[in-house]
Each structure stands twice: as C-alpha cells, then as structure tokens.
Symmetry: C2
Subunit: 207 residues, 2 copies
C-alpha cells in the first residue's frame, strides 16, 4: 500500500474519532515564524473557556511551543519529528491518545513550520488554516500552490507591520484567489489583537 494511501486510511479513522467526540479539529500551517504559536496563545485567552481547547504541537526539535501553550493554562502535547518535515496521521493519532480531548473540544494542531510538505499529509482534521505574514512577500500563494490550495481559511498576519514593508494586500488576495477561488481571507495581528474576533467567531462556528 503506498505511503500516502496508508496515511489517508488512518486520517479517515482519526476524523471519525473526532466526529464521535463532536470535536472540531484544525490543522494550522505556515512558514517558520509566521505567528502560529502567538495566534494560538491569543486565541486560547480570547476564547476564555467558551469551548474546551487542546493543542497538538509539531516541531523538529524542542518543547518550546507546547510550553508556551501550557503557560496559558491549556493542555498541549509536543511532537518532535527529528529530521521530519511534517506531521502525519500516525503522529496525530498518537497525540490524540496522549491528549484525550473531551467532548466538544477544539483540537488545534500547529504543524511543523513549512509551506511545502504539511499540505500533502491529511491528519484527520476538519479544517485547514494557513497563515501567511505581510513580511514574506505577495507571491507565496503562486510559488507554494499546494499549501494555499488546501486552505479553508487564509490568515494574513502581522498587519501591524504594513507601514514598514512593501506588501500589496490586494495583490496578495488576487494571487491567493487564483489558486484557491473560495478561500476565506482574514487580516490579523496576533501580537496586537486586530482581527481576532472574526477568527474566534469562525472557530466557534458562528460564521
């Protein structure tokens, strides 16, 4: 059985397991340092218990991101992939075993910082969220199309830096919609909190 087919079978079982819990699982992906962990920290605090949250953290090395999440009072497990460049359904299944999400939980997974490989591996999530930041350039959707095509939501982060960088927000949206015509785009600053409300509304299923 080819590697990807095997992965997808287990992903389907993960998806079913989460459905039985009425959990909402999100696979959060981006380049290194686009703001995934910062957004999760802000999100957990903003949700303020509206729904139980647990987090799966993926990185090549270190427990740093899971530690940041736990500092908010939220449960997190850290996966270290070593030389690996993406999370897969096996790792996600193991993480769910360790995490034991309660009924109705938001299960938020921060994938390895990488705009390439994570897009190719279904974990069993219900939704995929991709973060791009205004410091990375407007052409990323065209150059890394598999990632941007796979997104349900596309967060443009670090909008507080717009005055200092050469970034055309309209052109970025145009490129994003060329590879993914129906993607939902949100503008955010994870550090300042701009746009956080629209994001948490979407997470809570209100929009």
């Amino acid at each position: 059985v080819p590697v990807l087919a095997k992965n997808d079978e287990l992903a389907a079982r993960n998806r079913e397991r989460l459905r039985e819990l009425n959990a909402f699982a999100v696979n959060l992906m981006s380049s290194p340092g686009s703001g995934k962990t910062t957004l999760l920290e802000r999100t957990i605090r903003a949700l303020d218990g509206a729904r139980p949250v647990c987090v799966v953290e993926g990185d090549q090395e270190t427990p740093l991101d899971a530690q940041r999440i736990r500092a908010t009072g939220c449960r997190a497990v850290q996966i270290n992939t070593g030389a690996g460049c993406h999370l897969d359904a096996v790792m996600f299944a193991d993480a769910l075993d360790r995490l034991r999400p309660p009924a109705d939980a938001l299960v938020l997974t921060e994938n390895v910082g990488n705009l390439v490989c994570p897009a190719l591996f279904d974990l069993g999530e219900q939704a995929r969220v991709v973060i791009a930041s205004v410091t990375e350039g407007v052409d990323k959707p065209l150059k890394y199309p598999h990632m941007f095509q796979s997104a349900d939501v596309l967060i443009l982060n670090k909008i507080d830096l717009l005055p200092y960088v050469d970034f055309d927000v309209e052109q970025f949206a145009e490129h994003a919609r060329r590879v993914n015509p129906r993607v939902r785009i949100m503008h955010l600053s994870a550090t300042r909190g701009d746009g956080l409300g629209a994001w948490t509304d979407w997470l809570l299923g209100r929009t």
Copy 2:
C-alpha cells in the same frame, strides 16, 4: 543504494566539476520570504562584474525568481520541483548542464524556501548560507537545528525592521552558536543595503 547515498555520489561529482572550473558554488537556504532573491538581486548589482555570476533558482512553481534575476542582466535557470520540497544533486547537475558556468564563476543557488528538507541534500556546493529574518523569531536555530548546523554563514536579514519587532539579536546569536559554534553571522538589510559589503567581500574570498 539508499537514496541519500546516491545523491551524495552525484553531489561529489558536481563538486569536482565546479572545482575544475575554479567556480565557487553557494547553496542559499531559508524560510519562504526571508529575502533570498532580494539579496541575490542586490549582490549581482554590487559585484558589478568583479566575477562572473550565474544563478540556479529552485521553487515549487513559477519562473518568478529566475525572471527577477535575469532582470539584473545575470544568467539564471529555474527549476520547478512541483510537489518537491528541496533541490537535490540530480536537479543541480541538470541545472549546471543548462547554465554552463564559465571559469571562475560564482554559482549561486537559491534553494526552495524551506527550513527543513534542503539541509539534508548535498548539491555539490562549496558553501552553505542560511538566511533568517528578524521577523521570524529568535528560536529558529533551536527548532530547526539541522538547517542551522549546516550553515557556513548565517545571514540575519531585514535588520531595518528591528525597531518594529520583538527580536533580541544577542539571544538569536546565542541560539545559533549553540547549534553551530563556529558559524559566521552577518547582519543585513537586503532592501536597504546595510551589511552588503561584508557579504560580497566574503563571496569574493576576501575574508
């Protein structure tokens, strides 16, 4: 023969081929959007013919980066990897066939934007240069250690944005030296030109 061993055999032949040309080949790696192409554009203009330059561009999709390089008057070939996440020795050998670098050339390769996989594939370069930008956070060397361990030079780019971001330059250097004690660190702004002289001096073998 395992995949990586086969790669390394061809890389060794690429290395020898470049040595016979007295060429200096650099493998330039970073996260998406850290400034690889912008740095190459500035470098070519700053070198102003001091040495012949040719460029190998690697991206999943589009000819955009090779086009930007050619706009400077410099020869470039574009490799598109499709779903692939890194350049390898086969692609690099093909690129050299297309590029036909002259004697004494600087052969500058911009790898796929990815802090993970490119570190694992020897192309046949003489040196590896990694770019990190001040917008990505200080912990990247710890979290992506294979990439930072493999660097001969580590360029900290976008220093013009330091007033607007939370980035401790000393802490970053400390993390980088923890995984790579002898790495040479350079501070640059590819857009403004700060630090360009030290970089071109190194390229020309003057330091």
